[in-house]
Structures are given as structure tokens and as C-alpha cells.
């Protein structure tokens, strides 16, 4: 077995000047957690090429765990996605200028996949560190959902058995500081610690303990 963990981040998109998920993978690349090496991949915000980049990384690193990360505007904490749906319905064009409208991601694919990482345990473990976190019931219908869906579909179709999921990040403070509406934000250090905890939890404790989840949004 490879002893690799793959973490993806996205390039900058839209009106943003940074992407917290890109900063995150720069911080995590090459780290070792519980004996596994963290490998990272920067994914384009592109309807047609983002999963291809991921697929190459999966083939190159043969990971035993995959966590996709991305920015979600206005989130107030680390949000661990429960579900990816078989649709692309973009609120804004991707970085190539393409606006997907109600498109099916995989013809004949299931309507949705659930994350195969222990989302509830990850939420609990991150909160126990003092970092705000919750389970999110929608990853949207933009590129993050697309990457999560197609990654889970690829793993399923090829019987790879790799646990995988998507974790959305809030704005970085320096991004929020440039915006008039001043959205919620989170320090990069906390994001890095949260993702390390997610990796550790997913490796150590793959089955969700039954605990009350008042924190789903």
C-alpha cells in the first residue's frame, strides 16, 4: 500500500485574489501524518478539466485517502460535505468562461454519492480542538461538487475502495478584509490544523460513532 494521502486544492477563481484551499495545500504538501505522506494537487476551476487533473494525481500517488478542499463563500467554519450530486449548475462561469446549466455529470451515474470519510467524527474531532466545524448538506452545484462527485464515481466504478470526501473552507481573513460586506473568515493556521485532524480521524476511526449532530447546516 502506498502510504499516501491525497489532498486537492483549487486555483484562484472569480473575483478572488487568493484561494484558501491553495494556500492550504502549500502548507500541507510533504507533511507526514500517522506515517502517511501528504501529497497534494492543484486543480483548475474548469468544468472540463478539473477531474482529469485529479485522476492523474490518483494514478500517480495511489492514495489510501482523498480529501478535496475548496472555498465556499460565507461559510463560518470548516464544513464537511455529506453529499455530492450528479449535476453541474453553475452560478458563475468557470475559469475558462464556461457556464454549465443543469448538466448531468455522469450519464447513467447515481443521483448522488455520500462522502466515504467519517464526516461526523471529523466534525467532532475538529470542534474538540476549538475550531468551528459543521456538516454541510450541500456542496453546491459548481466545481467543488463536480470534483467530489466524479472522484467518488471514479473510485466506485473502479472498485478502488479509497475513502474520499470534500471539505469546504471559509474565506481567509485577508480576503474578508478587502470586502465591503466583511464576510466570516478563518485563519489559515486553523484550516491547516483542521485538515490534519480530518486526515488523522479518517485514518484512525473510519466508522462514525453515533453522536448527536446539532451542527448540520
Amino acid at each position: 500500500m502506498s502510504r499516501n494521502v491525497l489532498i486537492s486544492g483549487y486555483e484562484v477563481f472569480g473575483n478572488n485574489t487568493m484561494n484558501p484551499s491553495l494556500e492550504l495545500i502549500h502548507c500541507l504538501d510533504g507533511e507526514v501524518i500517522d506515517g502517511r505522506r501528504i501529497c497534494t494537487v492543484e486543480v483548475p476551476v474548469n468544468r472540463h478539466t478539473c477531474f482529469e487533473t485529479m485522476e492523474k494525481a490518483i494514478k500517480a500517488y495511489q492514495p489510501e485517502l482523498i480529501i478535496c478542499t475548496g472555498l465556499a463563500d460565507g461559510r463560518t467554519g470548516i464544513s464537511i460535505e455529506r453529499t455530492a450530486v450528479n449535476v453541474a449548475d453553475f452560478p458563475v462561469p468557470d475559469n475558462a468562461g464556461y457556464l454549465a446549466l443543469n448538466e448531468t455529470l455522469e450519464e447513467g451515474g447515481p443521483a448522488a454519492y455520500f462522502a466515504t470519510i467519517p464526516i461526523r467524527n471529523i466534525m467532532t474531532a475538529i470542534r474538540e480542538e476549538g475550531i468551528p466545524a459543521y456538516i454541510s448538506n450541500t456542496a453546491g452545484t459548481y466545481c467543488c461538487n463536480l470534483l467530489m462527485y466524479r472522484t467518488l464515481h471514479y473510485i466506485s466504478k473502479n472498485n478502488l475502495g479509497i475513502p474520499a470526501g470534500m471539505i469546504h473552507l471559509p474565506f481567509l481573513p485577508q480576503m474578508a478584509a478587502d470586502m465591503n460586506m466583511v464576510p466570516a473568515s478563518m485563519d489559515l493556521t486553523h484550516m491547516v490544523d483542521a485538515i490534519k485532524t480530518a486526515v488523522h480521524t479518517a485514518l484512525a476511526d473510519p466508522l462514525d460513532r453515533a453522536v448527536i449532530c446539532g451542527a448540520c447546516q
Copy 2:
């Protein structure tokens, strides 16, 4: 064919003294839209019996269209649900005091179903009447999602071919007027008009036209 349309609403639950979906079905019951009779059913907020009530109504009315409705705290407009997921993960107990934690709704069922009503056309038609509406990407993990999922599963499993979906409603003004935080609300008249428009649109125009959906949440 029956020439019936079935619309469900929920009983009052939690700390609420009313439920807009219950008021709504009282207003709509017996109405005729495009030659179809509106039949309604009041569904209990109960993990174990809510779908049974719906199933009886489906058998009794043999509807050609089903629209479930329910209250979603804090929504600012009519929200047409895109997806129902195969999970019950309750933020609060149901009316029988039961708290579902990360339960599968249908063993062996798909992770999700998409609504089979034209959600985009419905949103557009309601907005064209001057009533706020948007497509919602999550129906939550409480009873509304449960009812939507199990209704779509029942239709699928039995090859009934009935278009079905779920539409969430904001608080009524008189509910918001009793709350210190003063959440968003909508007049019952607008809700009734919106659901009539949804019925008309689903009957007349079952295929979604490709229009830009900037209003998904």
C-alpha cells in the same frame, strides 16, 4: 387517469404554533387547476409514520402530480428542492420525541433522488408573478427530506411515473411577529399563488427550459 393533483402539508411541530404548509393545504383543498382537482393530505412530523400517511393518500387519489410542502426556518422565498437524500439526521426530535441519527431511509436505496418536477421552470414562473423563489440544493435531513425521498422511491420502485417534488415555505408573518429574532416571512396568499403556479407549470411544461439559474441556494 385520475385528474387529481396531490399536495401534502405538515402538522405543527417543535416550538411553532402554526405551520404554513398546513394553512396552505387548507386553502388549496378542492381547488381546480387546469382541469385537475387538488387533493391534499396532512402528514405527521413523525419519522415512522409520515410516509405511511402519504402512501395511503397516493393510493386513494391516484394523482398525476405530487407536490410535498413544508416549513423551512429562515428561508426568504419559496424554495423548490432539487434533491432528497437517503438519510435521516434530525436536528431536533420529531413530534413523537424520536431523534434519528444518521439513519438510512431505505436500505439499498440510491443515495439520492432528484425532483421529477421542472424545478427551474417553476422557479422562473413564480418569480415572474413577483413572488420570491429559488432552487434549494438541500431539503435538510429532517422529515421533509424523508417524505420527499420516500415518495420518490415509492414512485420509482412501483414504476408509477408520477412527477413529484418538495417545495419549502418560509415562516408566515404572524409566526415571525412572535419571534425576537424576526426571521424572514411570506404572506400566505403569496404561498398559495406560488403553489398554484407550480402545479400549473408542472402540468404544462414538464421539461425544464435552459435558462440561467443565478438563484440557487
Copy 3:
């Protein structure tokens, strides 16, 4: 005594195509409440002329009560303003393209005036009708605050003793229906009823009863 009540509304501004306060005064003009005639005035969204328009109306109608109304983006209910401050600090230019930055409204004037209408009783009376309402602690620093401040200053300086205040209104549903973010809104009928109740309460019950105000924002 004149037996007149003066209610102001604002013209359309910014990106909006309507202004609920303008629709409101069209509905109320000429109505009779508790024996008083409702007189109305449309005020320009203009740093330099909005109060002049109000002053002319005060001289013409000699009202025994003045209620200014205006639109406040994103409010979820009728919001009765507590305070107007001696500053113009515009988030966007006025309708003449003028952007006031940290300007004093009245040199030598007090930092603020409190509304001289019974804000708490008005809130309670509107809520008792089933219409969402709350006390707002800031009227902002745009034209609405300006009009409220200069009206109260004019009344004070000239010892007119006319009770006066400002009530902010949410978006109308048809405005929210055109916006992607779908802000909270309120039906015009409810706004009209709420302002009638405010007039009645201010005429009948000028002293605020001591009740718990959990609804201040």
C-alpha cells in the same frame, strides 16, 4: 390644530426599480385615521434637497405627527428607528451622484436625536396584528438618517413639539423576486397596515409602556 398627519416616502434610488415607501404613500394619501387626514410627501434621495422638500411639506400641512419612511435593504420586518445621528457617510452616491463622506449634518447640532414617537408601543401594536416588527438601533448614515435627523432638529430648533420618527421597510416581494440572492421581503398590504397602526398608536398612546424588548436589532 391642523388634524393632519404627515408621512414621507422616498423616490426610487440605486439599482432598485421600485421603492416600498413610495408605494406606501400612494396607498395612504388622503386616508383618515382617528379623525386625522394623512398627507404625504415624496422626498428625493438627495443629500442637499431631501430635507428642503420635507420642510415645505411641514409648513404646508402643519402636521401634528410626522412619520418618515424608507427602504432598508435586507430588513426582515417593519423597523422602527430609535435614533438619528448627526452624520452623513454614504455607502453609495445619492441620486445626484453625490457621495457624502463623514459629513456633519448640522454644525453645532447634537450628536443624535431620539425618535419622539413611542417606538416600543408601536412595535408591540404592529406585532399584535401579526406583522413582523422590531426596534432598530441604527437608521444608517444615508438619506433616511439625514431626513430623520434634520426633521427632529427642525422641530426642536423651532419648538414645534411635533412627535416624529422614521420607520424602515423591507423590500417588496416583487423586488426580491428579481434578485439572485433573494433577500427578505414583505407584502405592501402589511406595510400599509403597519404604518396605519403606527399612526394610531402614536396618536393614542404617546408614552411608551414598560415592556420587555427582546426584539431590538
Copy 4:
């Protein structure tokens, strides 16, 4: 002159287990900024004693600058208050169980005081460091507003000429991590850096430069 700067923080109150303003003064006490010593005072959340504690600290330290700090639920950034009003209207009881309802703070006092620190320059300087900040137009009607009002009134009445203001802080991450609704939060390090910048700016640059303030809330 004393070469002291006085910064106040509040004790824990309500359902909270921490108060960021208390953590903040523990971090800042004894620091030296631009040759001034930072003196701090912990103020009780008490209608009747909070200002007395402040008054003693003013007499003891003879500061050349006063910045009050406190927690404001749900704020997304450092919020620099523009105004304090002559009213106590508590949403919840204070730590002694006292619920002030529409009480005047100072009989015969002005309706409001403006902060006498350069709020706009402070906002700009904090943002230039990459920390979210904005000007707030209401400090509420609880103890923070009370402390700001009475401090400015005391300075004015006694002709002390000390610049003074109030800066509200978001929740700390570890507080938000314990809450189901997951409100916005900010790291303590950023709060400390922001208040240091506020002190430096108020000492160096007492007159507000005219810059566009799109970030007022």
C-alpha cells in the same frame, strides 16, 4: 503626561464560557506601544457598577487614550463603534440579574456621543494588515454601549480631553466551535494585532482622513 493607554475588557456573561475582550486584555497588559504603556481593566457586566470600575481605572492611570472592548455576538470582524446612545435597553439581564428597560443613562445628558478616536483611519489600518474590520453604527443598548456612553460623558463633563471609543470583537473560534449554529469567529492573535494597530493609529493619526467607507454596517 502619563504615557498610559487604558484598554478595558469585560468579564464573562450570559451563556458564554469565555469573553474575547478579557483574553485580549490579558494579552495586552503591560505591553508598550509607541512609548506608551498599556494598562488594562476588567469591567463587570453590571448596569450599576461597570462604569464605576472604569472611573477608578481612569483616575488611577490618567490615560492619554481609552479603548473599551467587548464581545458582540455574530460580528464578522473587528467593529469600531461610531456612536454611544443615552439609553439602556437590555436584551438579556446583566450578571447581577438586572434587566434595564428603556432607561436613560445620564439624565440631562446628550442623546449620543460620537467616538473621539479616528474610527475610519483605524478601520483602514486594521484592514491593511489583512484583518477584517468595519465601522459599526450601533454599539447596541447593553453594557458595552453604557460603558462607552458614560466614559465619553465623564471625559466631556470633566474636560479631560482624552480620546476614547469602543471596539467590538467577534466570538473566539473555540466559542463558536461549541455552538450548534456556528457563528462567525476570529482568532485571538488577530484581535490583539488589531487593537495594537488601533492604539498606534489613534496616537499617530488622530484626524480621520477622508476615504470612502463602503464598509460601514
